[in-house]
């Protein structure tokens, strides 16, 4: 995504999406759409983007008067058992010895990537994702973070975010204290739903108490923030079961909550073939589950940040949205705008300069490249001037629910109305449905439209042509 800021005042802070909840409209607009963690979106990346292009973009990013800070993403692909809903890139194994060779190659990749970036570019964000990052034991994570610390310069700013995704089922006594000692200050826990029926249907049996104990341990050890991921639309999910899950979590008040809609794309994601279509909630129930989550969370004082994300009012994410400084990348919403994102590990995505690129998706390909001393690139894209402009517009929409027209006109020296005549035409039916308001100053999602930001953003996507097979999850 483009990493521009939107002037304060165009945030849709404080709006409660449940007031705009319109089941009929949501149904009508429920169609596949990109999540816009990048623009252009990943399906448009091309294998023609190679190592020399990546090096050039890194070099150009170093050459800027104030080079951007760095954000590191490390992908740990291993999981001990397959969750059937999963659309992530992962490798199922109970063999803990597999982590050592992976770690060794990851350290090699760090050693190859780091020299591309000037040493005075601080790492302000670090995220360990997966897979299951805590498939690695704390001493292995320590080795990894130690290697990063030798090759990059970690920011000493108190605002730095060093986070880890946790499978609470793998957390052992003392792990959280060890993470804190490594400098990690945020954790994100997968929960999905505590309902045992659902847990069986998705092959993820996870007790309430052990999960809450992990949250407790995070707080005791001074981790600044805990996020919990939930999913609605899972097989055998019920309103009452999901409600109990929400109530259970609201008692411990995680700082952030993500409520993702399950995207059933079994033709794209093999594990999902284990899910019986007959067990999936219908459109009606999906909507009710979503509405339930929104109602409960907003009533409990959470702010709806956008897309799937909720945060407490004093959370930095909420404050960044109020200040117009919210940003969105592959890791979701973040307060760290203007970073170059370096993705390390199998399938990881980077955003360096005006480029996106992705590592080999298969473990074998990633390993081979590193063993041969090559960067394990698979594909990527260089953004042209039009991409940059549209990425900026879409970023503004996804983060602040509005596009500030004067800002874009000044930044890109365009006449907005003329340049986006097509997009504005596509927006008209959305305006008629009360999802968007548009005037000479701004394009803004209404409280109804907030739940359909993707639909609005899609009007600004130059590459969208109706596809025969859905390559993106459904909007709702």
């Amino acid at each position: 995504m483009s990493r521009r800021q939107v002037p304060a005042g165009v945030s849709f802070a404080g709006m409660d999406p449940s007031t705009g909840f319109d089941a009929e409209l949501l149904r009508r607009y429920d169609r596949p759409g990109p999540r816009y963690t990048s623009y252009p979106t990943a399906p448009l990346f091309s294998p023609q983007f190679g190592e020399s292009a990546l090096r050039e973009h890194a070099q150009r990013s170093n050459a800027e008067p104030i080079p951007r800070e760095l954000s590191l993403y490390l992908h740990i692909p291993y999981c001990i058992s397959p969750c059937f809903y999963c659309a992530c890139n992962r490798v199922i194994t109970r063999d803990a010895t597999r982590s050592a060779p992976y770690l060794a190659r990851l350290v090699r990749e760090i050693g190859m990537m780091a020299p591309l970036f000037d040493r005075d570019r601080d790492v302000i964000q670090l995220h360990l994702g997966g897979g299951t990052p805590n498939f690695l034991r704390p001493d292995q994570l320590g080795e990894l973070i130690g290697s990063l610390g030798r090759h990059f310069h970690f920011s000493t700013s108190p605002g730095r975010d060093f986070s880890i995704e946790l499978d609470p089922r793998l957390v052992q006594d003392g792990d959280i204290a060890a993470y804190a000692a490594l400098g990690l200050n945020r954790a994100s826990l997968g929960v999905q739903d505590f309902d045992p029926q659902v847990q069986r249907a998705v092959n993820r049996i996870q007790g309430i108490d052990p999960t809450l104990q992990v949250i407790e341990a995070c707080r005791l050890n001074g981790l600044r923030s805990v996020n919990v991921d939930l999913i609605y639309g899972l097989p055998r999910q019920t309103l009452s079961g999901f409600e109990r899950t929400l109530d259970t979590l609201l008692e411990v008040r995680p700082d952030r909550l993500a409520v993702y809609g399950y995207a059933h794309l079994p033709e794209l994601f093999k594990p999902q073939r284990q899910i019986q279509s007959a067990d999936l909630p219908g459109a009606e129930l999906r909507l009710d589950l979503l509405r339930l989550a929104i109602d409960r969370l907003t009533a409990a004082g959470y702010r709806y940040i956008g897309m799937d994300h909720f945060a407490l009012p004093d959370d930095p994410l909420t404050q960044a949205q109020d200040a117009g400084r919210l940003h969105r990348n592959f890791m979701g919403y973040t307060i760290h705008a203007d970073c170059d994102l370096i993705g390390l590990g199998v399938s990881a995505i980077s955003h360096i300069g005006d480029s996106f690129s992705q590592n080999a998706r298969e473990l074998a390909g990633w390993e081979r490249a590193l063993d041969e001393g090559r960067l394990p690139l698979w594909r990527g894209v260089e953004l042209d001037a039009d991409d940059l402009l549209r990425a900026d517009a879409i970023q503004q929409l996804m983060c602040h629910g509005a596009i500030d027209i004067a800002t874009l006109e000044d930044r890109y020296q365009i006449d907005f109305q003329a340049y986006f005549a097509d997009a504005l035409r596509q927006l008209r039916p959305l305006q008629a449905d009360g999802l968007v308001v548009a005037d000479a100053r701004r394009i803004a999602a209404t409280s109804r439209g907030r739940l359909m930001l993707r639909i609005i953003a899609m009007c600004f996507d130059r590459y969208l042509v109706p596809a025969a097979e859905p390559r993106h999850s459904r909007v709702i």
Binding site: A63, E64, P65, I66, P67, A385, Y412, Q413
Partner: protein
């Protein structure tokens, strides 16, 4: 649909033709004052030839190449530099549209430095010594050559004095602004075509220092930096800082 630019590009000079000078031509005024228009220059067999495009990173000439022409930049930015015996690069200067490179070769038979394009560059080459001979018959042209030569020496003054890093940087930004304005571009908003290491090298500062000062200037509300674009928000404050450095330096 007009292509958007990330920010206002430093505009391109409009090209001249057989009968008109390019708008940024370094010599047009001098020649016109002396009563020569472009077609008469042609008659005088002065070699005025358009050269390029040179792509970013491509050399226009290298140190030691035989000197046979000075060249005015028509489009783009050129960096001149030498490499010291330890292999370290030393940046001599940056040349914008309307500015002339190769002047420091006039007294020698060979270019004393390298010149490399920082972006796509188009040049206008004026053959030497033909042009020098012409200058003896055209007082205006001669004066213009002297003026250019003295400015070229003046640029070096930016580096010579014992000035603070902030003052050098302010002088650099103000000088660029004046030079862009002189050839008809925006004075308050321009793209830095050179890398921060080039700027650092030119100002004899560390790259980190260059970034630190840019950040400080931005925090103080003097400038806004977006990627490579600089906007001067408080020109007066920058002028005040730049004054001591630029005192002896006549801008184009």
């Amino acid at each position: 649909m007009p292509a958007p630019s990330r920010s206002p590009r430093n505009p391109v000079a409009d090209d001249g033709d057989e009968f008109r000078f390019c708008s940024t031509c370094a010599f047009s005024a001098a020649c016109l004052v002396s009563g020569f228009d472009k077609s008469r220059l042609g008659e005088l067999h002065v070699l005025v030839e358009h050269a390029g495009p040179y792509r970013a990173g491509e050399h226009v000439f290298r140190e030691g190449d035989r000197f046979n022409a000075i060249a005015a930049v028509r489009v783009g930015t050129v960096k001149t530099y030498v490499t010291d015996p330890d292999g370290r690069e030393q940046v001599h200067g940056f040349f914008l549209p309307g500015e002339v490179i190769g002047l420091n070769a006039i007294s020698r038979a060979r270019y004393p430095c390298n010149a490399v394009a920082l972006e796509t560059v188009m040049l206008c080459r004026f053959a030497f010594p033909t042009m020098a001979e012409l200058a003896t018959r055209m007082p205006g042209l001669q004066q213009q050559l002297f003026r250019l030569l003295s400015q070229d020496i003046g640029k070096a003054a930016l580096l010579a004095g014992n000035f603070s890093a902030e003052h050098r940087m302010a002088a650099f930004l103000i000088a660029l602004s004046r030079r862009y304005a002189a050839c008809g571009f925006r004075a308050d908003r321009y793209q830095l075509k050179m890398s921060r290491t080039d700027i650092a090298n030119y100002l004899r500062l560390a790259a980190e220092t260059v970034s630190r000062i840019f950040r400080r200037f931005q925090d103080q509300g003097l400038i806004r930096v977006q990627r490579r674009e600089i906007q001067l928000l408080n020109r007066q404050a920058l002028e005040n800082m730049a004054e001591t450095v630029l005192r002896d330096f006549a801008p184009n």
